[in-house]
């Protein structure tokens, strides 16, 4: 008999970066790299599992910015340009490494991967969201919704309307994309502020996830710790993240991704090779960047050794076995103590798999197969299925919490980024004012301006900008984005109020910040 469940969640998110005004824009590479290294490998993995009829249950969030970018034609075409360049570089690499068979083997491996990525991309008519939707329809994958632009909700406590708009727009993008209502919701950065569950309730959401202490420090004390969901007073269920399984992946000492046989993320031929040779494949201004072709393994010393895919694969299988073993013991123990089937909740950033942890998708693949065939202690499950089996749960108020640095709001509220809040709060207030002034606008131009104002406000609210400011490296792009969206918002606000909308300019920013094609500004209430 199975004694419990593991709920794996992959949180897929990238901030909205799209610059039609430039022919080449470096930060768009974030998307292209994630497509090649994470999203396509995940799609292929799930397709293989389905093909081989291997039962699995996964949960994934795809945030609205990610959905909008994956569905955007300009970015789709630019991705093809990007992958074609990489394929060309691979061919040159295969030639160049002719006398170094260990390297040539890797160049061939990358060529295979890039060709497969391109084929897969084209197979889904350049629309990877449709691929995820198709897999969701099989019942093995549950896609959950998230905030409009990954806004960090606890810091919208004083502008609740913004928090509500983040959720409402997020849910409406989900419905538009997948043709049904989302059951679950991913709170950006697991940021939960007591009471905000009412917003989720209003939007028909059944459950969300928090960081461990969101539940453990909740009130009253949670009887089952984090191994059963609780209901908030609104009736929305809340599942807490398990640290033990998180630690196995994230710990800098024991964590799997640091294994010496795994591929080293920070050694890339974009930096390693002769400038004249690599120049056509890096930034057009001659700035060296990552290409995605990396030949070394972590090694454990500065004298990096050549990557050996077979050894790395063995390690991924071992790590998957280790992870499973630990969950078996954990779940067995919990079952004895709790007298009911526990759920162990393990959420990760999707982009961890394949991008940073090159072998991550392989690990996941091994893990899913092993769970299916090598043990009988626990099964994979989604949160909504668990709620069907255990509809009766304790009611508590979870604590303020996030999965960010130090567990609360500090990552997004510190010396490096606190200057953004006066502007964000003011713009939120002004947006509310506009909606009050024009509760039902029919005038085409003004309506467009109101919609665009909401787009600009939401874009400024992405938690990504505050996060980048906090990390303190290469902050110029994040600063620029916050300023740009706030300034565009302010101009729109002034033009709308003074009835002097500059249509040409409006069209220009509509074409640049074209996220949420069908947004309705009245969601801001």
């Amino acid at each position: 008999m199975y004694k419990g469940y593991l709920c794996l969640i992959l949180h897929g998110h990238l901030p909205f970066v799209r610059h039609p005004e430039f022919d080449y824009f470096l930060e768009e590479n974030w998307l292209y790299e994630a497509i090649t290294e994470t999203y396509i490998p995940l799609i292929l993995m799930m397709e293989r599992l389905l093909d081989e009829k291997i039962e699995f249950k996964l949960t994934m969030s795809l945030t609205p910015p990610l959905i909008c970018m994956l569905k955007d034609q300009l970015l789709q075409n630019r991705y093809l340009r990007h992958i074609n360049k990489l394929i060309e570089l691979c061919h040159r690499e295969i030639e160049r490494t002719r006398w170094q068979p260990h390297f040539q083997k890797l160049a061939l491996m990358y060529l295979d991967r890039f060709l497969l990525a391109k084929d897969t991309f084209i197979r889904f008519n350049n629309d990877l969201v449709s691929a995820f939707a198709k897999i969701q329809d099989t019942g093995s994958l549950e896609i959950i919704a998230s905030c409009a632009t990954h806004g960090y909700l606890p810091l919208m406590e004083i502008t609740t309307t913004s928090a509500r708009a983040q959720v409402k727009v997020g849910v409406s993008v989900y419905e538009e994309t997948f043709g049904k209502k989302p059951k679950g919701f991913w709170l950006p950065e697991c940021g939960y502020q007591p009471g905000q569950d009412y917003i989720l309730k209003e939007c028909g959401i059944k459950y969300f996830f928090t960081e461990i202490h969101g539940i453990l420090h909740g009130n009253p004390r949670p009887k089952y710790g984090i191994y059963a969901p609780v209901y908030c007073k609104s009736g929305v269920a809340c599942f807490g993240r398990d640290w033990e399984s998180a630690k196995q992946v994230w710990s800098s000492i024991e964590g799997y991704p640091g294994d010496y046989w795994y591929r080293e993320f920070y050694r890339d031929i974009g930096y390693d090779l002769d400038f004249d040779y690599i120049k056509p494949y890096i930034h057009p201004d001659g700035i060296r960047i990552n290409t995605g072709i990396k030949y070394y393994r972590i090694t454990g010393s500065e004298d990096k050794q050549v990557y050996e895919p077979e050894r790395a694969r063995e390690r991924a299988a071992e790590h998957a076995g280790n992870f499973m073993f630990n969950r078996e013991r954990q779940i067995e123990y919990l079952y004895d103590v709790l007298k009911r089937k526990p759920i162990v909740v393990a959420p990760y950033d999707a982009e961890l798999f394949g991008h940073w942890w090159f072998e991550g998708v392989m690990w996941l693949d091994f893990l899913i197969r092993k769970i299916r065939y090598d043990q009988k202690i626990f099964k994979l499950i989604t949160a909504s299925e668990y709620l069907q089996e255990y509809p009766r749960n304790q009611v508590i108020t979870p604590s303020l919490s996030s999965w960010g640095w130090k567990g609360y709001n500090e990552m997004w509220l510190q010396g490096a980024n606190d200057w953004i809040y006066p502007h964000l709060h003011k713009a939120s207030e002004r947006m509310a004012e506009l909606v009050k002034l024009y509760p039902n606008e029919n005038d085409g131009i003004r309506k467009r301006a109101l919609n665009q104002a909401l787009r600009e406000l939401l874009l400024a609210q992405s938690s990504d900008w505050a996060f980048i400011l906090a990390t303190g490296t290469h902050t110029s792009y994040a600063i620029r984005r916050i300023k740009e969206h706030i300034l565009r918002f302010t101009t729109l606000y002034e033009q709308i109020k003074s009835n002097s909308i500059d249509v040409e300019w409006l069209e220009d920013i509509e074409s640049k910040d074209n996220i949420f094609a069908n947004i309705d500004y009245r969601l801001y209430q």
Partner: protein, 321 residues
């Protein structure tokens, strides 16, 4: 009657809470939740936004306004112990105060008065307690150490004179979360202390060996709030355990070999048996990473009508000393 009982219960809870807060204050160590615990997670997230250096091609963006010409004081929660206040005072308000207070204006100290308004509806006079923080004239925001978790706070920005306090701005009310598990259990979902202690420790990744007994709170926390991986932040640049280098100087040398040549544009050229694409003018060039040892590189050209053939064979030997 029922209400009264409830109120009483609340009061008792409050008392307990206060006691516990006092107890906690005695513990000198601040409880920092998972500080430096998962630097890898942050690091990984960071790699999503990877950019190599400051790109230079952005057109300049205008600056944001310094203020919005409004009096306001906003409070936000940072964590169980700290709250953040930011404010703007208009010159008009200043002038008004100056006229009203006359010479007192210069004597007055500008302070943030932090009210503990836990479980009350604050009317300006009924705070549980308060403390003042003197601030300078240039500050427009402040991080406030409230020294107690799980409370509600309200802040006045004001002027303090020996005999009175003048409120300039009053903030919104914020609540801070508890920094440990709640002391409140509900009857229906009661759980023995020991079991909860185990679950608590397990949830936080301490395994099955969580301590039990009276001291569990303390013990777990002491273990919990120690950084999981000491020195973890030093490995900021790499997922590997960083090996400290004594000095930073370094040198890397690699060699590559360029083989190039020319023939009739319509000829066929093979290098080490593999055909090479020719440029329209009949030239070609190849680039190889050159390892130590001897490389024999036969280059064979064949005319279009296949009647003529030439082979030239460079032999390259490389040695690294």
């Amino acid at each position: 009657m029922k209400r009264l009982v409830l109120k009483l219960k609340e009061k008792i809870k409050n008392l307990k809470l206060k006691k516990l807060i006092k107890k906690r204050k005695l513990k000198s160590k601040k409880l920092l939740f998972k500080e430096e615990q998962f630097p890898q997670q942050i690091k990984m997230e960071e790699t999503k936004y990877y950019t190599p250096s400051v790109p230079t091609y952005y057109p300049k963006v205008e600056e944001l306004p310094l203020g919005y010409g409004e009096d306001r004081l906003v409070l936000q929660t940072r964590d169980p112990w700290w709250i953040h206040a930011y404010w703007e005072i208009t010159p008009k308000t200043y002038e008004k105060l100056k006229t009203e207070l006359k010479e007192d204006f210069l004597k007055a100290k500008k302070v943030l008065r932090v009210y503990d308004v836990t479980n009350i509806i604050f009317d300006g006079t009924n705070a549980n307690s308060f403390f003042d923080i003197e601030i300078n004239d240039y500050a427009n925001n402040w991080y406030i150490d409230t020294k107690g978790a799980g409370r509600s706070w309200c802040v006045d920005l004001g002027l303090r004179l020996p005999n009175r306090f003048i409120t300039i701005l009053r903030s919104n009310v914020v609540s801070t979360p508890l920094d440990g598990p709640s002391w409140i259990t509900d009857e229906e979902w009661m759980v023995p202390e020991e079991i909860f202690a185990r679950l608590y420790g397990m949830g936080l990744g301490l395994g099955l060996s969580s301590p039990v007994g009276k001291e569990w709170h303390k013990e777990i926390k002491e273990r919990l709030f120690q950084p999981l991986a000491s020195g973890a932040v030093a490995s900021w640049v790499s997922p590997v355990k960083k090996i400290e280098k004594e000095r930073k100087f370094w040198l890397v040398v690699n060699t590559e070999l360029i083989v190039y040549g020319a023939t009739e544009p319509d000829a066929t050229v093979y290098v080490q048996g593999r055909q090479v694409p020719l440029r329209p003018d009949g030239t070609f060039s190849l680039r190889f990473a050159l390892p130590d040892g001897v490389q024999v590189i036969p280059v064979k050209g064949i005319s279009k009508d296949k009647l003529e053939e030439r082979t030239i064979t460079p032999v390259v030997s490389k040695e690294t000393r």
